[in-house]
């Protein structure tokens, strides 16, 4: 399963390198770029398409993994970084950086850091609000926090210093991986490694939690400490990916569902495949965005939402039948 998905990742990456407005030889171009040559092929594939491809893969992996982790932790198949308030929290944090010029010393890392803080705070407040009732209350609490952060984000937009800044922010919020450089990668990669590491270290807890918190605790696991680590990991993943690529919705929600039947629904085994499939899907979506007729560009986040929302409706429908 993981092998097939890894192959798909490579395939999607190759397709992504080969897709664009100019016809180039992607692999040869990459080699030339690696050798430091200044040919068109080298510049297009190495400096434009490579960062874009890697970014799409990393953002997809982060979103897929954080979705799988949050669903496992909250024992709720409808949990998603977007529905738990994490994405909006990250967006608010990053938007504040753009507007108020917070953390100037950090340069390009500032929005990512603010995104991380925003996502972490949103998740923590959500968990506090949901309380020990967990599961059922999480979606309600997530909705409340999303609404709050959405309102604050609207306020930030409202008081935008000028229309251009507002347009820039709105476009960024719609989600995209284009026109970003390799320095964004150096933000995402460590976040993915650390966040992914934190989440994977709690795999046994995720499995134990399938029978409830009490059972997990009676089996010698520590749900409290473990869930903090998972929340921190998910906040790292969501915070940095939203800060770098804006809001790319529904990937974290849908991907674990696609994977689950292949891993016998085990919340511990769903993690890695979710990361890989998330990477594939976001990369493919970004290819579709580039294949659309030139002109007004369709943003990646808009595309994933357009595809993801109907799937979400289908999921709600499926869940409903389970409860009747």
């Amino acid at each position: 399963m993981n092998g097939i998905l890894a192959l798909l990742v490579l395939l999607a990456a190759f397709l992504s390198l080969a897709t664009g407005s100019t016809d180039i030889a992607p692999l040869a171009g990459l080699l030339e770029w690696a050798r430091g040559e200044q040919s068109i092929d080298a510049i297009v594939s190495g400096e434009i398409r490579l960062p874009r491809t890697l970014l799409a893969l990393l953002v997809g992996a982060s979103l897929g993994l954080s979705g799988a982790a949050l669903q496992g932790l909250l024992r709720n198949p409808l949990a998603d970084p977007g529905l738990t308030g994490a994405s909006q929290g990250a967006a608010l944090g990053a938007a504040c950086v753009f507007y108020f010029g917070l953390f100037p010393a950090l340069g390009v890392a500032a929005p990512a850091l603010a995104g991380l803080v925003g996502a972490g705070l949103a998740l923590l407040i959500m968990l506090l609000l949901a309380g020990p009732a967990g599961q059922a209350m999480v979606i309600m609490a997530g909705l409340a926090i999303s609404t709050l952060t959405g309102a604050l984000l609207a306020a930030v937009l409202n008081f935008a210093p000028n229309p251009f800044a507002m347009q820039e922010l709105v476009f960024w919020l719609l989600g995209s991986v284009s026109e970003r450089g390799l320095d964004h990668l150096w933000l995402l990669l460590p976040a993915l490694l650390v966040g992914g590491g934190l989440i994977c270290s709690q795999r046994r807890l995720l499995l134990g939690l399938s029978l409830g918190e009490q059972v997990a605790q009676s089996m010698g696991l520590s749900p409290r400490r473990g869930s903090r680590l998972i929340v921190l990991g998910a906040a790292l993943l969501v915070g940095t990916s939203v800060a770098v690529a804006g809001a790319i919705g529904f990937v974290g929600l849908i991907v674990p569902h696609l994977v689950r039947p292949w891993v016998q629904h085990r919340p511990d085994r769903v993690l890695l495949p979710s990361a890989l499939l998330g990477a594939v899907l976001v990369c493919l979506a970004d290819i579709v965005v580039r294949l659309l007729p030139p002109g007004q560009e369709l943003k990646l986040g808009v595309l994933t939402s357009l595809i993801g929302a109907p799937l979400f409706i289908w999921l709600v429908w499926k869940e409903r039948r389970r409860w009747i």
Partner: protein, 247 residues
């Protein structure tokens, strides 16, 4: 040596200075009206509730055990079990191996066989009936090979057949220096199956001893506020409410 010894166990307004012991090979029943503290006691022993007092396991203070070490010795079956995901029966049973960090197929198969769920190993657990699920939850505990099983009302909502099945399983488990503590409401079953009973009321232990010693008309009147007696002369102990036919 006592397998488990509890001294002056207290838990914020739910348990008041509870003391009891559990011997190897014993099936110990905890009875008492709703709210008597049966679940609180079991959860304290399982390490889920933070409590004061002393719990020792084979003479060693339980609080000095690492959580995983403790979980390998004592397994807990909560009152209601549900799986959040459509896990297969095999994966539910494999959960019992979590404290050990392995998923030994041999032990899982054995646990499934001894509970009679081996034909459903690949069936999603939520497709089974309540009685069938009850055996799967038990198989999860068995797979952990604990010395002590704590079962909180494992008979609730089971029909007569499955009640007997579960009790037989627990009884069988108490051989080989292992023991089971279970809470239950059916006094006739408690009298018939348990070696000793602990009668609780309002967080306190009212009586501990053999069923004959604990289930006296006097105790039943005081704790359950009913006029009843257990007829131990019948082939199996029978609860007789006063002025009525046996129930």
């Amino acid at each position: 040596m006592d397998l488990i010894r509890v001294e002056a166990l207290s838990l914020a307004q739910r348990l008041v200075s509870v003391s009891l012991d559990l011997q190897p090979g014993e099936l110990l029943g905890i009875i008492g009206p709703n709210g008597a503290g049966k679940s609180s006691l079991l959860e304290s022993l399982a390490g889920i509730q933070p409590c004061s007092g002393l719990i020792s396991f084979e003479g060693n203070c339980l609080s000095t055990f690492e959580p995983l070490e403790r979980a390998r010795k004592i397994a807990f079956l909560p009152q209601r079990s549900t799986a959040a995901w459509t896990l297969s029966v095999r994966d539910v049973i494999a959960l019992g191996r979590l404290p050990w960090g392995d998923e030994s197929a041999q032990i899982i198969d054995q646990a499934a066989r001894s509970t009679g769920v081996d034909e459903w190993l690949n069936v999603p657990v939520d497709q089974l009936s309540g009685g069938e699920q009850a055996r799967v939850w038990l198989a999860r505990l068995l797979a952990g090979e604990p010395r002590v099983i704590l079962a909180d009302e494992p008979l609730a909502s089971l029909d007569l057949y499955y009640q007997q099945q579960v009790l037989k399983l627990l009884r069988r488990y108490t051989s080989r220096e292992r023991a089971v503590i279970l809470s239950l409401h059916d006094l006739s079953l408690a009298a018939a199956w348990c070696d000793r009973l602990v009668l609780m009321e309002a967080g306190r232990v009212v009586a501990v001893g053999t069923p004959q010693a604990v289930l006296t008309a006097e105790n039943l009147r005081q704790v359950f506020r009913v006029e009843a007696e257990i007829d131990f002369s019948a082939a199996v102990p029978l609860l007789r409410m006063q002025g009525r036919e046996p129930v």
